[in-house]
Symmetry: C2
Subunit: 258 residues, 2 copies
């Protein structure tokens, strides 16, 4: 299959760089086609602004949504954005690989999301009615594709446990896995997380690359996180609250996982 | 008191721009000193990289943490970073104002955090022992100061409710309020959130600016979110798990709030 690896680390000779190289080799070795968006190497423009369109703002002021919509619908997007959208459409599986910086993705990758996820491409898609609230959360332009995070963090695994001080890793990643990946339609595989990156010797690198290799070998067969689909009858529309009879005792992020 | 407003929206004539102008006027009217870091107007460099130091990387490769530590400790940081750190030290209260894009802060603001929060300034501070795990989560360089978010979002309030599809707003903001603000020591006030920004007429703007004005008037007296302090005896060190007798039935982000 076609795999897009979107990678955000400034140093090629880092743990992240080594894991990226390993992943590309492993994926190609089993016959996949691989494209890498190495955002630092590409000097990716991180900041969403009026220059993301080749024409001036529609109105007297720049509107991030409406000007994105106009540029997307009329082929007026900045070329770097178009190229990334083409890669997303080409891919069967998309991997985002990054170090967890301040409990989220690096700014350069956040800016990739903001700019590539145009209005009409990743949001503002589909009809709004009494039965549907757009094609999102399980439906949309990227439906039928798979996505997965590869994340490194300096903190210890216990710090990200259910009662760990940073909060559970699944909750920290929810805004990305659910809000950025499930939203435009991806099936999201469980993340591959590496903790305590300050202590990686050769033996540990061999161990983690073995485990990562197995995850990559099984990309097509790994069960996705069972996020609920917005328009499948479990949410009130347009309030988008879980209906009272759906997991009535549950609140918070995990309520949106079956 | 001294108030620093860090503001991230590309369009001055936006709702965010109007709220920023309102906030500055209101704060100055009651006698506060105000500085604004208008990140788009400053053309803030969003991407953390080796150019954040005025000297070459220490080793053969760039290490985001170690090179940040070296630059901070030796006065070798890029000037834009130093200036923002000075503003943080000057401030009694720091407000971050931004539109919620893809369930987090805009990339330009994330990049402000990544670059300004140097090793030795916002992390890597204090001793690690059997009793303490650095000065963080309630202690640190910015302890004794207050912080608050002003956030706008296009989605409806119900979409961010306890059972709303996006997840509860408090959980979406936890990695920022706890992981970015409480971490280096801030007392974090409850956020001021405006929903459904696509539907703001004059009457609604008057209403929200009235409510915001009251929040700004009460900056010094509003009770902060009671996040637990890492080194106050409630966490096991170094596992940083809540001790079994502390809120034994609770897990997840909210367990870290008293």
């Amino acid at each position: 299959m076609n795999v897009l690896l979107v990678y955000a680390h400034p140093e090629p000779q880092s743990l992240n760089g080594s894991l990226k190289d390993f992943s590309v080799q492993r994926l190609e070795a089993v016959g996949h086609q691989v494209q890498v968006s190495d955002l630092y190497a590409m000097q990716w423009k991180a900041t969403l602004d009026a220059n993301d369109s080749t024409v001036s703002p529609l109105g007297t002021r720049f509107d991030p949504s409406l000007d994105s919509q106009h540029a997307f619908a009329n082929g007026l997007q900045s070329q770097d954005i178009e190229l990334e959208q083409e890669k997303l459409l080409w891919a069967d599986t998309v991997i985002l690989q990054f170090p967890l910086w301040w409990f989220s993705m690096p700014a350069i990758l956040k800016g990739w999301v903001e700019r590539v996820y145009a209005y009409g491409f990743a949001y503002g898609v589909g009809e709004h009615s009494d039965l549907r609230w757009g094609d999102r959360y399980g439906e949309g332009t990227l439906a039928g594709k798979r996505a997965m995070l590869i994340v490194t963090t300096g903190g210890w695994e216990s710090h990200y446990a259910a009662r760990g001080i940073n909060g559970p890793i699944d909750d920290i990643l929810f805004p990305i896995q659910h809000g950025i990946l499930h939203y435009p339609g991806f099936d999201v595989l469980p993340p591959f997380v590496i903790y305590r990156t300050g202590r990686v010797d050769e033996a540990r690198f061999a161990e983690m690359s073995h485990a990562l290799g197995q995850r990559l070998d099984n990309l097509a067969h790994t069960a996705p996180i069972p996020f609920r689909r917005q328009n499948a009858g479990e949410y009130e529309i347009p309030a988008l609250l879980l209906k009272p009879d759906i997991a009535p005792e549950r609140v918070g992020f995990s309520a949106h996982i079956k």
